[in-house]
């Protein structure tokens, strides 16, 4: 009976979504002429190469045009990591036997993960340093670095990451992001104003504050995700 109701509801949802999307043709050009700047996307596509000299327009939108939004996003991620820690906080009682849920892994995984761990770190750093030139950016690079740490944690049962170091990296990266925003407010008129010289298109040193902010975001996301994974993997089972 309940299943029938749910399927009926799903049919209603599917019908309404389908009829709404019937008028939205797939692959239709909705930007208009890019030179006319009739839509906000056309404005971004037309102005980003000359005014910011950032090759990746998505990065320009995320860090420059919508930089304040990204600051909020980073703080949401920080709040999630902090909330996870406080929800899962578990005081150790005396005389209570506890067992880690992680089991030791095989020799093959241990040797292999030790081999590719530095390569994963380098790839993550490459992705967030070149966030304004190639597809990628701070969030993606940070996630890649966190997967490297996840591999090490799963291969070695007693692999520890120092929470003090993670906290410091996270704090310094966050303060850098907010500080660059305040610098824009002091030097120019608005928060996160791009005040540095923008350089030439497709150079590593181009885009003004955008690469600096994305590197800070990369460090912050890597530290936060590593902290989250460490908290989740170090859950002890009560006996």
């Amino acid at each position: 009976m309940k299943k029938l109701l749910v399927i009926l509801l799903l049919a209603v949802v599917a019908y309404s979504l389908g009829t709404a999307l019937m008028s939205v043709k797939f692959g239709e050009n909705r930007l208009g002429n890019v030179q006319d700047e009739g839509t906000v996307s056309a404005f971004y596509l037309n102005n980003t190469p000359e005014k910011l000299s950032v090759a990746n327009v998505v990065t320009a939108i995320v860090v420059n045009y919508r930089g304040f939004d990204t600051l909020g996003e980073v703080s949401v991620l920080f709040l999630a990591a902090m909330g996870l820690g406080s929800i899962l906080y578990h005081r150790h009682k005396e005389g209570e036997e506890e067992e880690a849920i992680l089991k030791p892994s095989s020799q093959l995984i241990q040797a292999g993960s030790k081999l590719i761990f530095p390569a994963i770190l380098v790839l993550g750093a490459y992705v967030f340093i070149h966030g304004h030139l190639t597809p990628g950016g701070g969030f993606q690079g940070g996630a890649i670095i966190a997967t490297g740490f996840l591999l090490m944690m799963m291969a070695y049962k007693d692999y520890k990451v120092s929470h003090k170091v993670l906290t410091w990296v996270e704090s310094i990266a966050g303060v850098t992001f907010a500080g660059i925003g305040m610098w824009g407010l002091i030097v120019s008129q608005s928060f996160l104003e791009n005040t540095l010289p923008i350089g030439a298109l497709n150079n590593l040193f181009s885009g003004g504050i955008i690469p600096i902010i994305y590197i800070a975001v990369g460090f912050k996301v890597a530290a936060e995700l590593t902290g989250v994974l460490d908290t989740l993997l170090n859950i002890k089972d009560k006996h």
Partner: protein, 127 residues
């Protein structure tokens, strides 16, 4: 013929996005295990992301990156796809990750308290 092909493409792409959303909704509404409900929420997320990217796509468009190759395509009269949905989805993925992490931690907390993660076996939920 060309129009037919386009219609098939839109049914395929939008259909798979809506299908993912429906699968996720089904899991959230029917499944009893809390971990499966969280997985359902993630599947809904994936469907919405696919829908966003599909709406921003322009046929024949290239990635919105002004690398030397991209600049050549634009100079030859090519077009770039809409960058705004991609930027929004980048935000949405990160928020989705945060939501999943907090939801899973709440599931772990419930499991510790009730020794089960199935909502039909948690007695204090019944009235």
């Amino acid at each position: 013929m060309d129009l037919d092909n386009n219609l098939l493409m839109s049914i395929g792409v939008y259909g798979s996005a809506i299908g993912l959303i429906l699968i996720g909704l089904y899991a959230v509404l029917i499944k009893k295990h809390l971990t499966k409900i969280v997985i359902g929420l993630s599947i809904i997320d994936a469907g919405i992301h696919l829908l966003f990217i599909a709406i921003g796509y322009i046929s024949g468009g290239t990635a919105p990156i002004f690398s030397p190759a991209g600049e050549k395509i634009v100079a030859n009269g090519g077009i770039m796809v809409d960058p705004v949905p991609q930027a929004l989805v980048l935000t949405a993925i990160v928020i989705g990750f945060a939501v999943t992490a907090v939801a899973l931690s709440l599931v772990i907390r419930l499991y510790r308290h009730h020794h089960t993660a199935r909502i039909d076996q948690i007695k204090s939920l019944k009235w």
